[in-house]
């Protein structure tokens, strides 16, 4: 059948070719056809991703050398368990959102551009997660970002998307310029951009032309990289684009942006920190990452309480959960990483679910302001159920998966025994309570009580929109009751992160 080395390429190429083909085919085909074409392409990509993950789950690494050039000379696509795991999350959520958007975007024009940009964004994100080369990561991150800027500003006839898209575009472009600067500095210092090669050279201290003071620049480069990826991932001092961009985008795009695209920024940070720099737990740099995470968590959680627009509240909740993930990652030991990555998976599912549910409400009623809605519980029961499941999952209520990942993160923090971490855990628990508060507030406003305006003609959403939401909420419940499934996915990823030696050895030797 297909050789396993072709799988990473197939995963990148399928959405890419689909995106390119949809542009010329646009005027000649109907909207439904374009939607189904995109869905089939994303489904194929998902099948390839699952096959790939099954291959790397036991620690073997799939390497694809582009054009046959060996590792330090050519660009390689390297897939280990961390890559495979994040890619599976990415492609799964995008596939479900594509199905959703067949129905949601029926009334918009220019849909061929929408699907084409969606496929290009998928291709870019998958490229970020699958590459083994830092410059290639930059290129694919840019592809995904540009597609994201376009998708946020998709509805050109409204004013919100335009302004939000412009702001996002400028901030994102500044971010990637600085990432490029840091990559250039790393190249100048080490003479290579291959991640495994860089890790090797950093371990042995082998700088280019024997530069003696390389050790001074390295933390600065790392700081610039984390700052740049942090803008993409919406960490607090750099998050200002997110509360404007995510509500202004069409709902399936908000789901993908919040659920997946931010995680890709976090994945890039994890890659740089653990694989290239080879940081071990207890390093003080991880402490700064953790502090960033906690600040993000607190700041965004309190801001989310004050929102009256349901999508804006969900956007702030996204920032808060990125804070949780960074907190988990920053703890650095095995359990902390398990918690952080598991929360990545959980939050991707939960936030996508919540944004799709919010989109369902907006699609049926046309209103985003929570204070004007009300009493939808009787008319849209399935939406109510999925919103409750998603909302309680985000808040961390026990039988659902949000609770499991937050519990692991707190446990990992307490296990290290340092007093400042206990303080952080207390903040984490407080913010969970805040999350419960704003979710319950949203539920009360939207679904129960009386509505201020006439909502007589509202009925339940069409089935194509309901199916992805039901699938996602089923996953939420299953992962909550049987977290073993989640652990089976996350543990190989964490093993691959904490022990990068076999990664380096296989990329450079093979």
């Amino acid at each position: 059948m297909i050789p396993s080395e072709w799988l990473p390429v197939a995963i990148i190429i399928t959405p890419l070719v689909t995106g390119f083909l949809l542009i010329p085919l646009g005027p000649y085909t109907s909207k439904k056809f374009q939607g189904f074409f995109a869905t089939i392409a994303s489904f194929l990509t998902f099948v390839f991703t699952v096959l790939l993950f099954l291959k790397v789950i036991d620690g073997t690494i799939v390497i694809h050398k582009m054009a046959g050039w060996k590792a330090p000379f050519g660009i390689v696509l390297v897939v280990d368990a961390l890559n495979g795991f994040v890619t599976m999350v990415v492609v799964g959520i995008v596939m479900l959102a594509t199905v959703y958007s067949i129905e949601y975007m029926k009334h918009d024009t220019g849909l061929s551009y929408y699907y084409s940009l969606l496929m290009l964004m998928l291709s870019g994100m998958v490229g970020v997660t699958l590459t083994g080369d830092l410059f290639n990561l930059f290129v694919f991150l840019e592809i995904a970002s540009i597609a994201a800027y376009g998708l946020v500003a998709f509805r050109l006839t409204e004013l919100d998307p335009l302004e939000a898209g412009f702001k996002y575009c400028i901030m994102g472009a500044v971010a990637t310029s600085f990432i490029l600067l840091a990559i250039g500095l790393l190249y100048g210092l080490l003479g290579t951009v291959n991640m495994a090669d860089m890790a090797e050279k950093l371990k042995t201290g082998n700088f280019l032309y024997g530069a003696k003071n390389g050790n001074i620049i390295l933390p600065i480069i790392l700081a610039v990289l984390i700052w740049g990826f942090g803008i993409k991932a919406a960490v607090v001092p750099m998050h200002t684009w997110l509360p404007d961009a995510h509500p202004a985008a069409p709902s399936p795009i908000s789901a993908i942006l919040s659920g997946v695209f931010i995680k890709v920024g976090v994945y890039a940070m994890i890659r740089v920190l653990f694989t290239i720099y080879g940081i071990q737990p207890g390093n003080c740099l991880l402490f700064y990452v953790m502090t960033f995470g906690v600040i993000t968590m607190v700041f965004a959680g309190f801001l989310a309480l004050a929102q009256s627009d349901v999508k804006r509240m969900l956007a702030f909740s996204s920032i808060m959960n990125i804070g949780y993930i960074l907190f988990g990652v920053g703890i650095g030991n095995f359990l902390g990483l398990v918690g952080g990555l598991f929360h990545l998976l959980n939050h991707a599912i939960l936030k996508a679910l919540l944004f799709l549910a919010a989109g369902s409400i907006i699609h049926q009623t046309g209103i985003r302001d929570m204070r004007q809605l009300g009493g939808l519980g009787r008319k849209m029961p399935i939406t109510l159920t999925v919103f409750v499941i998603g909302g309680f999952g985000i808040a961390g209520v026990p039988p659902l998966n949000g609770f499991v990942s937050k519990w692991i993160i707190f446990k990992a923090a307490i296990e290290t025994g340092q007093p400042i971490l206990i303080f952080y855990v207390v903040m984490g628990v407080v913010m969970s309570a805040v999350a419960v508060a704003y979710i319950v507030n949203a539920l009360r406003n939207i679904f129960f009580g009386e509505s201020k305006i006439d909502l007589e003609n509202v009925e339940e959403s069409p089935p194509l929109m309901l199916i992805p939401m039901v699938i996602l909420s089923a996953m939420v419940v299953i992962l909550g009751i049987f977290p073993q499934f989640g652990f089976n996915l996350v543990e190989p990823a964490v093993k691959a992160t904490v022990f990068p030696a076999s990664y380096i050895h296989q990329v450079l030797g093979g």
Partner: protein
């Protein structure tokens, strides 16, 4: 958008074919001299934009309409990916440089495997992408990105 004065139109009529040729030259000799697909494509796009500015959108739209521009642009992009996939199937690694276009002597135009093919598709894609983008800039009501 209306066109410009007679002087601009005459000068453009003389310069445009020259720019077009230079663009194609830069594209085809991409593996020998500095340049290549992207640079040649930008020069071709510059030609189109110059024509658009000098003569007005309407007259250019009669020659290269919006639909034709979009279609060829999409095909150009898809052909890049296609050539890469052909490299995958026949050469086992993605983007491999197979001897599609004669492994000639280095220094000749017809040499260097599939590189000139990439250059040509790339130039077509970039030039038409710019043209389509400029069409969208000049429309009043609807439009799109890139």
């Amino acid at each position: 958008m209306e066109g410009m004065t007679v002087i601009v139109k005459t000068v453009t009529r003389i310069l445009a074919p020259v720019m077009f040729l230079v663009g194609i030259y830069v594209t085809l000799h991409g593996h020998l001299t500095p340049g290549g697909g992207f640079q040649g494509g930008v020069m071709l796009a510059g030609t189109f934009v110059m024509l658009l500015l000098a003569f007005g959108v309407a007259s250019l739209e009669k020659k290269v309409s919006f639909r034709v521009g979009e279609t060829v642009k999409g095909i150009g992009a898809a052909m890049i990916a296609f050539t890469a996939v052909v490299g995958l199937i026949f050469g086992f690694w993605f983007f491999k440089n197979i001897g599609v276009y004669w492994y000639g002597i280095p220094g000749e135009v017809f040499s260097a495997g599939s590189l000139p093919l990439y250059n040509i598709w790339e130039a077509a894609h970039v030039a038409l992408a710019f043209l389509v983008a400029f069409y969208c800039f000049t429309k009043k009501e609807s439009g799109d990105k890139k």
